[in-house]
């Protein structure tokens, strides 16, 4: 193929890729636009495609009314549960990887926990948390998200740990480290990339959860997905608030994708390889 032909193909590919990307981004653009439109612009006909100005009133309303706290609640619950799940899960994964604790049966059972449909255990969990007085508390959601994410963390980290050459751990043991120190000072640094990738997904899952947040919160620790659905009423739908709240909820995700893109890609493909 001639050089010109090849350039054309790349140019065509670029155009298609651009079109593809724009197509997928459009709804996100739309909701972002709504979040900065004035009510007149939102409910204008024909449609206003480009907001006239950056009107942050919708956001101000959220902060004023305290609705914005839901983002904070999401941050606390998702962040804390991710940290706990990563620590407990990685240690557990080490036990499975190096000591082969419980053999195949235990591993299988742990991985199968990931397949449990949320809706099935929703009500029993609800009852359990009621009796433990964990409804509408940080602790409740954190415990739940930790428990829910642990199987995934264990599954992924086990694979990453198995890829660490065992001689490094053995050498450290001979050099005088206790088994616990070996995990901390040798294994953790070696699986750093895996830790990040897994943590990203764990965080995303907890951040975006709706069903459990819906069931287990009332008014104190409402997370942002629940908050958003609250704006859809039978009488009126608060478009501006929906837009602003959605954006607030999406912003951390944008940030995560921007900084962790490498790890996300690796994490998704690792999931394929290690599945």
């Amino acid at each position: 193929m001639s050089v010109v032909g090849r350039k054309n193909r790349t140019g065509l590919r670029f155009a298609l890729a651009l079109a593809c990307t724009l197509l997928f981004l459009f709804p996100i653009y739309w909701i972002a636009a709504i979040s900065v439109k004035t009510p007149e612009e939102i409910f204008a006909y024909p449609l206003v495609w480009l907001p006239g100005s950056f009107n942050f009133n919708n956001y101000l309303v959220l902060f004023r009314d305290g609705d914005a706290w839901s983002v904070f609640h999401s941050l606390v619950t998702a962040g804390t549960s991710t940290v706990i799940a990563m620590v407990l899960g990685t240690f557990a994964a080490y036990s499975l990887a190096r000591y082969k604790t419980g053999g195949n049966h235990l591993s299988l059972w742990i991985i199968s926990q990931r397949m449990v449909p949320q809706i099935s255990i929703a009500f029993p969990v609800f009852l359990l948390f009621v009796s433990l007085k964990l409804i509408d508390t940080y602790a409740g959601l954190i415990i739940l998200y930790t428990a829910f994410n642990l199987p995934y963390v264990i599954w992924m980290m086990r694979g990453y740990i198995q890829d660490v050459p065992i001689e490094l751990e053995q050498s450290a043991m001979i050099d005088g480290l206790s088994p616990f120190q070996v995990i901390l000072k040798v294994v953790f640094p070696m699986v750093r990339a895996g830790l990040f990738a897994t943590a990203v997904f764990t965080f995303i899952f907890a951040w975006n959860d709706f069903l459990f947040a819906l069931i287990l919160t009332r008014s104190e620790v409402v997370t942002y997905p629940v908050q958003v659905t609250g704006y859809f009423g039978s009488q009126s739908t608060f478009w501006g608030k929906i837009g602003a709240m959605s954006m607030l909820g999406m912003l951390p995700m944008f940030f995560v994708v921007a900084t962790m893109q490498k790890y996300i890609v690796r994490g998704m493909s690792m999931g394929a390889v290690k599945g």
Binding site: F14, A17, T21, I121, F123, P124, L127, A147, F210, T229
Partner: protein, 288 residues
């Protein structure tokens, strides 16, 4: 030796404790409750036999929800797979700014399904949504489709939203898989005179099948359990038209508090899901 014995269980124990909380207790509770007779009005803890399971078998609404969910899964999965594959091929070779594009395309997948559903609900709004506007341009006149209310449009709306959110997921998996295909085999095939289709069918496809299978399993399970998107867009409506298994289950448990029945229901879902996964895995093993 006793020291090792303790250590490896010690570091495993906290995680297991948490998992049991979600894994063991609810399961047992469901089992027990499904054989009792607890409803919104009565709290009968006696053994009620299989009455709820029998009711489940006869429950038309249940079976309808199963049918809808299965059909939806069967439609959405191939679409997401096909589009994802097409996009993966597009990005397989040199594209300027590839990393940027890939990162942006991933955005729908990392946002909450609630936000996705909410966004599309607004996009599908009959008066102020851009979808109708765009259709109107092509139709030449004003279009006021009631996407989330019209019986023939509700499912397509949900389908579009789900495809939008999850095709990037398939895309990424497939891109990774395609990138890993042995280039030398493809070059050998082209030298042998194989057509693009042939190369795909006999070289590429077998190479990416394991990854595709995993992606399909994950996505299939998620589609089966779909809740968030449906809830924001239609809440199972109009009527019960878009009521999937999860939506119905939610109604049973948290709206009507038909506790024992929903426990039987929940267990049934787990059993069905396990069956699906096992048969899928067996199918994959047979392929090998």
């Amino acid at each position: 030796m006793t020291r090792i014995f303790q250590f490896r269980y010690l570091i495993l124990a906290p995680a297991i404790f948490f998992i049991l909380l979600i894994g063991l207790y609810p399961f047992l509770k469901l089992l027990i409750t499904s054989f009792q007779n607890i409803t919104m009005f009565a709290d009968d803890y006696g053994f009620a036999g299989f009455v709820h399971y029998a009711r489940l078998m006869d429950d038309g609404r249940f079976w309808a929800s199963v049918l809808r969910t299965v059909v939806f899964t069967a439609i959405a999965l191939p679409i997401e797979l096909g589009l994802g594959l097409a996009m993966a091929y597009l990005f397989l070779e040199r594209v300027p700014l590839k990393q940027v594009f890939v990162a942006l395309i991933l955005l729908p997948t990392v946002i909450s399904p609630i936000v996705a559903g909410s966004t599309w609900r607004l996009m599908f709004d009959n008066r102020f949504g851009p979808i109708n506007q765009i259709i109107g341009w092509f139709a030449g006149h004003e279009v006021k489709l009631l996407w989330t209310v019209d019986t023939s449009l509700a499912w397509p709306a949900i389908l579009i939203a789900d495809v939008w959110q999850w095709t990037p997921f398939m895309f990424l998996f497939l891109l990774t898989a395609l990138s890993a295909v042995d280039q030398e085999q493809i070059e050998a095939a082209s030298l042998d005179g194989a057509s693009r289709w042939r190369t795909f069918r006999y070289i590429v496809l077998p190479a990416i099948t394991p990854v595709m299978a995993i992606a399909m399993l994950i996505r299939g399970l998620d589609l089966f359990r779909i809740f968030d998107i449906v809830w924001t867009m239609t809440q199972g409506g109009p009527g019960t038209l878009t009521e999937t298994i999860s939506v119905y289950a939610y109604q049973m448990a948290f709206r009507e508090f038909d506790v024992s029945y929903s426990a039987a229901f929940a267990l049934a879902i787990i059993v069905v899901l396990t069956g699906v996964v096992l048969s899928f895995l067996r199918m994959v093993e047979v392929e090998r």
